[in-house]
């Protein structure tokens, strides 16, 4: 570099720019390298899940060669599960429970958030704060008194118990999220609608819901994730196989079989993880917005 500096006026600047650029390139390369290490570590379990799901029981029990690769890939595990009445039951239960939970939670959350963010009444501040507090109450704090309560309601070992209880996990956060989104809508918009003679229902349906659509999608994804993946409540309140949903069904029923059923178990995990992964692939931005909104908004 010293020789180039001596040759002309212009080169030192160029060299400096070049070194900065090189530095930046190095930083970028280093970032990519380090990130690759993290990605490999983070993706080991999903990778192994898929690999095992493609193995036959014979291949798993033989223990020949590396466990990380499949020698004779087969879809037998998936075919077995897809035609297995019990697994179909878990899947269907998960689907309808999650569907109802999402609809119920979003209805409750949108109505409440509209009221709390726009129609301010006595105590609305207290309720908003209370909503946030209940969001911080984890399910493991209340599952024992709830066991007594759902027992008294006659809902033990009845899948409907989840439709009753999952909204308690989803609604507080969804409401909080929607309050944030609704509050950011300019007041002039609904005032204009009011002057035009719209009633509150029309304002909600024609102004708020369309404008806050990104928030609604984020909250819906959250409610879906809760309904699809929750484990404690179904484990505590459902004990027979026909009432189970995917999470408990897989963990409790499939493991009872012989040791080498791991191919089937992992295939079941792949199938159960597929819906959230699919949703996430297509709606990642909303998903991320929902994750971060809880802390950056409101």
């Amino acid at each position: 570099m010293t020789t180039t500096m001596a040759t002309s006026e212009a080169t030192p600047r160029k060299a400096k720019v070049g070194s900065l650029e090189r530095q930046r390139r190095w930083a970028l390369g280093g970032s990519y390298a380090a990130l690759s290490v993290f990605v490999v570590i983070f993706l080991v379990p999903p990778f192994y899940m898929i690999m095992t799901s493609l193995k036959s029981s014979a291949e798993i029990s033989a223990q020949q060669g590396s466990p990380w690769v499949v020698q004779n890939p087969t879809l037998d595990n998936f075919i077995y599960l897809a035609t297995n009445a019990q697994f179909q039951r878990y899947f269907l239960n998960s689907v309808w429970v999650t569907g109802l939970v999402v609809i119920l939670s979003m209805t409750i959350a949108i109505l409440a958030a509209f009221s709390l963010s726009r129609m301010g009444f006595k105590g609305s501040q207290v309720i908003s704060t209370g909503v946030f507090l209940t969001y911080l109450v984890p399910p493991s704090l209340l599952f024992i008194p709830l066991f007594q309560i759902v027992g008294a309601l006659g809902l033990i070992n009845n899948t409907w118990v989840l439709v009753l209880l999952f909204p308690t996990l989803a609604v507080p956060f969804c409401t909080w999220l929607m309050i944030g989104y609704f509050s950011s809508i300019p007041k002039e918009l609904d005032e204009a609608a009011l002057i035009d003679g719209a009633n509150y229902l029309q304002i909600l349906l024609k102004v708020f819901i369309p404008v806050a659509m990104p928030g609604i999608i984020a909250a819906t994804i959250f409610a879906f994730t809760v309904g699809w993946g929750a484990f404690l409540y179904p484990l505590a309140y459902l004990y027979s196989a026909d009432q189970a949903v995917l999470t408990v069904g897989i963990v409790r029923e499939l493991i009872r079989g012989d040791v080498f059923a791991w191919g089937t178990i992992m295939a079941a995990c792949v199938m159960a993880a597929a819906p959230p992964i699919l949703i996430y692939t297509f709606l990642m931005d909303y998903y991320v917005a929902g994750l971060t909104a809880g802390a950056t908004k409101g």
Partner: protein, 316 residues
Amino acid sequence: MANGRTIAIGIGTEASAASRRAGSLKKLARRRSTTALLLCAPLIVLIVGLKLYPTFYAIFLSMLDRKMEHFVGLDNFAFLLTRPSFQLVIFQSCLFAITAVVMKAVIGFIVAHLMHNIRGRNQRIWRGLLLVPWVIPLALSTLTWWWLFDPSYSALNWTLNWLGFESIPFLGTTWNARIAVIAVNVWFGAPFFMIMYLAALKSVPEQLYEAAAIDGATAWQKLRFITLPMMRNIILITMLYSLIVTFADFDIVRILTNGGPQDSTHLFATYAFNVGIESGNIPRGASVSLFMFPVLATLAFFVLRDVLKRSREVST
């Protein structure tokens, strides 16, 4: 005033019309707040019925004897505190929550910075890949971890052997099992921190770094005097929030070790499940859960204080 009726009533009308108008405004306001309350009703019913009432019911339950016939005051709590297995639960819960949250925060911070160096489309792809652990239902990914740790067919041990190391009984000894459950929690939760910190990093104005660069600041100085102060709030609130969730975690320990070996990895939630649901001692299970309450309430207080402070800043 043109029509006959108003003239006939005379001078008093002016005031009564005004008061009537005020009355109808008040009525309108009242109707508005009735509608508002009605729209909130489902939420209030849900929270009061399935969150608030169970909380008080838990306190009541925890003060009954095993058969739920007699009132025993605080005996359940006192009894639990004398039990070595419960003392282990307290220790393990604190160890689990604090270690896991600190590690998640550190890894999340590092990965967020690496990610921040990459701009544009590529960042989306890497972010997408790194978020996968957070998206798979935890119960199912924990099952996969269990299979990875499986004593006789462990793929991790196969790799260790292949590299020339001895096999490790991942879930067989106390400390191995403790580290394993923490590792799974870190694996699951670090992407959440990464996303939060990345969002915070993006909100730090670029000019601050440019100004610092002109002043000749080193990378460490930029981190120490710009990034950390600017991100302080998000770092703290994410950690507080995660402490609550991690402290009350259930899925990982339940599936991976179910408290073993020798009850050394039980958390409050899994221990409460074993005592309350599986052994059928509802009052004692309720008291185990309630031991979490003071810790969670303290953490929630700080989270709430921060959130309310910030929403006030936003509104003014």
